[in-house]
Amino acid sequence: MRRWLVPLLALALSAWAQGTLKVGVVVSATGPAASLGIPERNTFLMLQELLDRQGGVAGRKVEFVILDDASDTTQAVRNTRRLVEEGVVAVVGTTTTPASLGMIPVVAEAKVPMISLAASKDIIHPVDAQRFWVFKTPQTEELMARAIVADMVARGVKTVGYIGFNDAYGEGWARFFEAEAKAKGLQVVASERYNRTDTSVTGQALRIIARRPDAVLIGASGTPAVFPQRTLKERGYPGLIYQTHGVANPDFLRVGGKDVEGTLLPAGPILVAEQLPSAFPSKRVALDYIQRYEARYGIGSYSTFGAHAWDAWLILKPALERALKKADPGRDLAAFRAALRDELEATKGLVATHGVFTFSKEDHLGLRFEDAAVMVQVEGGRWKLVRTFR
């Protein structure tokens, strides 16, 4: 084993000699979260091509080392340790909440800044000794739940039902949505779970319908989110149906077809970038990303998840440029990582596809609700902007 380790190390060293900046990326390109992880990986592959053409950052080549964690905590941790060892300046990832939580002790121990692509607030809150090193780009469930509940209240909803994945995604949504709903005076009358591999959700749908909620929220991601909605419709549920931003990809519309017509969901502004008022801060950046992604992967292929990865780079790039002025990663990697972290935390008013990022010592999410969430409705098989919160 050691025989080929030495050349590997030599390779790594020679890379440093040329001043390459390595950025570690962990995504869930396989396993249950693949539908989210694949666009994230695609975004980094696209970025790599872009940076190779443009010549990197501040005259240094940038190399993304992308590893798949198969939606599994152990693999994510292994990947992270491996990236740290390979001398990355920062780690971006991973797609799911539990795996991101598992990565935190590793990056904190190695003192490497990390930008998670997962949803939960627990990843960056509270900013303690470990989370000192951790930032994230996606909106939290809490933030998106606020948008949903605000919309529900505006539509006169009094009672709601919830059905979500029986995994970390559905659990996170259940927790924050139900808390927010109760805080705003809504009554949560049913809270059901299902698996993305289920062949039937009739039982859950019947239970929800029997409680007669004014609205139902489906806490699921990707195309498996269609299933409960279709079953609810088939069983004659008359009320409003909300989805989460986890469904914001073209496949959801393709599989859903007529069944998802009228669905309401919160989303990052990028989902309906063209329809945003021109004063909306993210509009231009989002359109730029969509154009690039579609040019690379085909018309209609973009999803909001890839944009989280793009945002991570938008934040990372200026921070890298500033940190390079303070420390030399070739000479003192530890100092550079620390400087990079400080510069990440110093990010102010950075306009990205999903909102405007302003980090501080207490806030490693950095998004303002008004800029980061809009309400969208499915209309005629397309995403239609319903309202912004600005």
Binding site: M1, A70, S71, R78, L101, N166
Partner: protein
């Protein structure tokens, strides 16, 4: 020699410049520990478990809850984790080790899936699918084990100790008994092995080992959530063990090392080979596994072991166990059947059979095919319970007792088709006989405190081999023996067991004439020493020259009893048996 395993502890020092490999080393040690638990279960005891990851989860969650929620020391967590995984093993094993065939693996799948879902949904207790964060690092002798190097020393030390303990187990009465149980539960039970109890103990041991691995996992990652303890993870460990060779300790460790490394090597290799990033790791992983099985269905290590120098064992030199010499007056009744009855469905296989076996005699039980001889034999030895009638051994009633309870009272048996264990050596096969005369339990064996008793057990077996003339083959695998030698080995195993009443089921079947004479001489000599022999056979020449008395059965009933000459003259016998044979 086997302390060479401690060399593994040098690995962290060698790999110290490559922290990532230290991480892999830790994962290797943890998977190795789980794979070893499967060595106990599948390799030794022949059971398949799909729930090892659930046991890990018990260990991991116990320590996570105690340290994070209650703020206790991780060592309390360890104790609780072990207790919890033992408790789970007890419940699960108690319910399921008696299940046969596919029922055991399936019920472990059921438990595994159920526990995984509980861990994900008892949000208040376990943190749900999101998991529990911020576990404290382990502190050992004042050193916090907070990096992969220090942790690697601990996890490898645990692994090496586990290897040594299991090595002790394999070469002990318990190891032999487990292997025998896997091959043939009835043969094991006839030498005093309680199948259900021993399986349960193996299950407990395997559960505790997996729980220990879970504890180490939790404090290494300092984070727990349900996914590492899923059915997929359990399958992964089983894959490791089977691909490496589940029947050997180096095999399961090889599997653990290979598959731990494979995932990362594939991540390096595949983009180079295919020239692009993709989701190809799992595909390659599956195909590598298929390839290994095609090349080596027994696992990789047995394939490699053919190229390794074969380790020569040594012959035992210790003092044999004290042999309770057959005592008591010749001619007294030692075994007595009173009105034995057994029906299978509507068919009466044995109907009201009476006879008595007297010390020092050779009694033959004969009859045409389907006369009920073998059933009678099985009723006497407890292999099947009778529907009616009673059996007495040395005046004590043994009716309905299971074989493993009857054997220690002084009764031993052989089988119609020799029940030997081909992968064990001839000596070890014979040493299985000493099971009921030795005492070392799991704790003594695992700690290696059984050495003296083990040496004496082997010496006893060796003496028995000498007695039947097989000492020259003692270190050969039993698979190499001829049919005649296999019969002799079965008798040697009986002699090593110290049983005084020997029940032999067709011992001459498949023997050549010379071998038969040899066998007859041996049996007569044994009878002279005070052993008592009951023999079932078809071979009239052998029986007539050997037996002191003969009991003849037909259609489940005894039709005659007497000296060979008497029964030969009996018209009923001639009609039923000799006539038929003629």
């Amino acid at each position: 020699m086997r302390y060479g395993w401690f060399l593994l502890l040098l690995l962290p020092f060698l790999l110290a410049p490559f922290p990532f490999y230290l991480t892999l080393l830790n994962f290797f040690a943890l998977s190795g520990l789980v794979a070893l638990s499967l060595y106990v279960l599948t390799g030794l005891a022949g059971m398949t478990s799909f729930a090892q990851a659930a046991f890990m989860g018990m260990g991991a969650y116990a320590t996570a809850l105690l340290t994070v929620k209650a703020g206790l020391s991780p060592w309390f967590g360890l104790a609780a984790g072990l207790a919890l995984s033992l408790l789970l093993a007890l419940v699960l094993g108690g319910l399921t080790v008696r299940l046969k065939g596919h029922f055991l693996p399936l019920s472990t799948i059921a438990w595994q899936v159920a526990l995984y879902i509980l861990a994900g949904n008892l949000v208040g207790l376990t943190g749900g699918h999101t998991g529990l964060t911020d576990l404290p690092p382990l502190v050992l002798l004042g050193f916090p084990l907070d990096n992969a190097f220090r942790y690697g020393l601990l996890s490898l030390l645990v692994l090496v100790l586990a290897v040594l303990a299991l090595h002790n187990l394999r070469f002990s009465r318990l190891g032999r008994a487990l292997l025998a149980l896997r091959g043939d539960a009835l043969a094991a039970a006839s030498f005093g092995v309680d199948p259900a109890a021993l399986r349960l103990k193996a299950f407990l041991l395997a559960g505790a080992m997996a729980g220990l691995a879970g504890f180490l996992y939790a404090h290494f990652l300092r984070f727990v959530n349900p996914t590492p303890f899923s059915l997929e993870a359990s399958i992964k460990y089983l894959v490791m063990a089977v691909a490496g060779g589940v029947g050997t300790i180096p095999g399961v460790l090889l599997g653990a090392a290979l598959f731990t490394g494979l995932e990362d090597w594939l991540k390096d290799l595949l983009p180079l080979l295919l020239g692009r990033q993709g989701n190809y790791e799992t595909i390659a992983y599956g195909l590598v596994l298929a390839g290994i099985l095609l090349l080596a269905p027994q696992g990789l290590f047995p394939l490699l072991a053919r190229f390794l120098p074969r380790k020569e064992g040594s012959l035992p030199r210790a003092e044999p166990l004290p042999l309770p010499a057959p005592s008591g007056a010749r001619g007294e009744v030692v075994l007595e059947a009173q009105g034995l009855r057994k029906a299978f469905g509507g068919l009466l296989a044995v109907n009201g059979v009476f006879f008595a076996l007297r010390r020092g005699e050779i009694l033959a039980l004969i009859g045409p095919n389907g006369a009920g001889k073998s059933t009678t034999f099985n009723l006497l030895t407890g292999a099947i319970p009778p529907d009616g009638g009673r059996v007495f051994l040395f005046g004590k009633e043994i009716t309905g007792l299971p074989p493993h309870r009857i054997h220690p009272l002084g009764l031993g048996r052989t089988f119609q088709h020799p029940h030997l264990f081909p992968e064990l050596s001839v000596l070890e096969n014979a040493a299985l006989g000493t099971y009921a005369r030795t005492r070392a339990g799991f704790s003594r064996v695992l700690l290696g405190l059984h050495g003296e008793e083990e040496a004496r057990a082997l010496a006893t077996a060796y003496r028995a081999l000498k007695r039947v003339g097989l000492e020259g083959l003692a270190l050969e695998p039993a698979a190499r023996l001829t049919a005649g030698q296999q019969r002799l080995l079965e008798i040697a195993r009986l002699l090593a067991s110290g049983a005084e009443v020997l029940l032999l089921d067709e011992p001459a079947a498949g023997l050549r004439a010379g071998e038969k004479r040899e066998l007859a001489r041996l049996l007569k000599a044994l009878a002279r020493e005070g052993y008592t022999v009951l023999i079932v056979d078809h071979d009239m020449d052998l029986i007539m020259g050997l037996a002191d008395r003969v009991v003849v059965m037909n259609y489940g009933e005894k039709i005659a009893e007497g000296t060979p000459e008497e029964v030969q003259r009996n018209p009923l016998v001639r009609a039923a048996y000799l006539g038929e044979a003629a």
